[in-house]
Symmetry: C2
Subunit: 310 residues, 2 copies
Amino acid sequence: VLITGAAGFVGARVAESVVNDPRFDGATVTLIDTVTPRLSGDGVRPLTGDLSLPNGLELALEANPNIVIHLAGVLGGAAEADYGSARRVNLDATLNLFERLRELGRRPRVVFASSVAVFGPPLPEVVRDDSPPHPTMTYGAQKLQMEVALEQFSARGWLDGIALRLPGIVARPGADRRLRTAFLSTLFYAIAAGEDVTLPVSPKDHTWLLSVEAAADAFIHACLLPRESLGRRRAFMLPALRVSIEELVAAVQQQFPGSGAQVVYAPDADIVAQFASHPPLSTELADRLGFAHDGDVDRLVARAMPREGR
Amino acid sequence: VLITGAAGFVGARVAESVVNDPRFDGATVTLIDTVTPRLSGDGVRPLTGDLSLPNGLELALEANPNIVIHLAGVLGGAAEADYGSARRVNLDATLNLFERLRELGRRPRVVFASSVAVFGPPLPEVVRDDSPPHPTMTYGAQKLQMEVALEQFSARGWLDGIALRLPGIVARPGADRRLRTAFLSTLFYAIAAGEDVTLPVSPKDHTWLLSVEAAADAFIHACLLPRESLGRRRAFMLPALRVSIEELVAAVQQQFPGSGAQVVYAPDADIVAQFASHPPLSTELADRLGFAHDGDVDRLVARAMPREGR
């Protein structure tokens, strides 16, 4: 198993889940990131490398993986802020990875982290598997381009890809302020720490969320799905819980009853349009394949915080 | 005006039409291709250059165009035969062109030659503007990726793009046998020359076609469409005539009554699936914008042959 972006928020949790999952017993798990992944143990190979450089890519592929979880990327706001870096990592390095995996000839399962950002605002009244994606942000457009490549490589038998469109994943500790979605995670940590927080959305806005634990489960599920269960369509939205901001705030407050933190709302029209105007979501394809969201907002909140934060 | 791929079959005809169109009077028309475009005249700058090399790209952009017709590409079967070259030209060079146009800051109209190949087989019962594209060939996947980039660059105001999904364009003289669609053009020239021809399809199969003259008209129309008439959706299928192979053969035979050429059918299942199983086509968006196909098969045939071939 190769996991790229393995030191990141989602990557580290996916790595931990893979290493602790008996279904991967005996596998060598290569973890690579530009900062060294902290996980270690039997069969775990934490590597420091930049996939956008030829030696980083070759280093990652040294163990000739037959399962690849590709999470490395320049995310959302960071991609907006540095187009050149986003192109280099999200497009060039990702496509280079797919091409090298084709050349290695093992037809590996490749689980690619795509994003809800493939849908640009305004969204349709209900987002379905067949809703046409029209991304407006660089990040979403690049993810969509790589979905197209992954699906075509899969159709030709060059690899065996699945692109999971991720909703907002909570709760990212010390969320990078360059991520315009940071507020969704910040609210967890602020309330936990009893710190007042200002949210750039309204209480009645809705957003699609998944706990980091549910996201890790989804990546593992995608690694193990039999090829026969998959059709031509290889990119789809993961099930996500659609919650109102006030519902979410209430659930987090209930989790930390002594918090006393004040939550203030100062909606930013652009952030609301991008990240908190999510309509009902239908994920028939993912449902049929056995993917699932957290079930309810209390479970989402309980599974969102890293263990040491609870 | 900059026209890339200007020495190619479609490119040369588009170039000729632009140069002869009074609506472009006074414009400098830069033509670039890896082989020197043959057109010359007042205000015409034929250049030899490879857009996939930095100096070729800079050469093309020297005149700081505000209209770009991007036709350069590694086509169909050639892209299948040489993935590396297809990636370099169809993806890297195309995206580099879009990025440089963004940096030049003129927000140029960019008309990009996309392809029906964005739809992989099997096609839906009717192909509509919202039919989800799932390309299986490298060429179609690369065109689709660049549509996504062009549309996102347009949404952000970085340029003002239109991607025209082209059906089969006839009749390519001396059609490159690497193009698996060559038979559609070959049949014109064989019948014209009185040479017997074997077609890899059945008489009752259907295909979407446009004459090269209608294609050139469509590119010019796209150059001149007011920005206000365009929405977020910037990639769409051009109207095409849906003809049966026997109808097409009969019309070409009528055009060359003394031919005597025998037409033999030897269907190849893969070619039929890819290029001659075209269902009814609905092109509402293009229709609304004023694009049109040839009208009927006789007019298609009359406008398909280059002037010297008539």
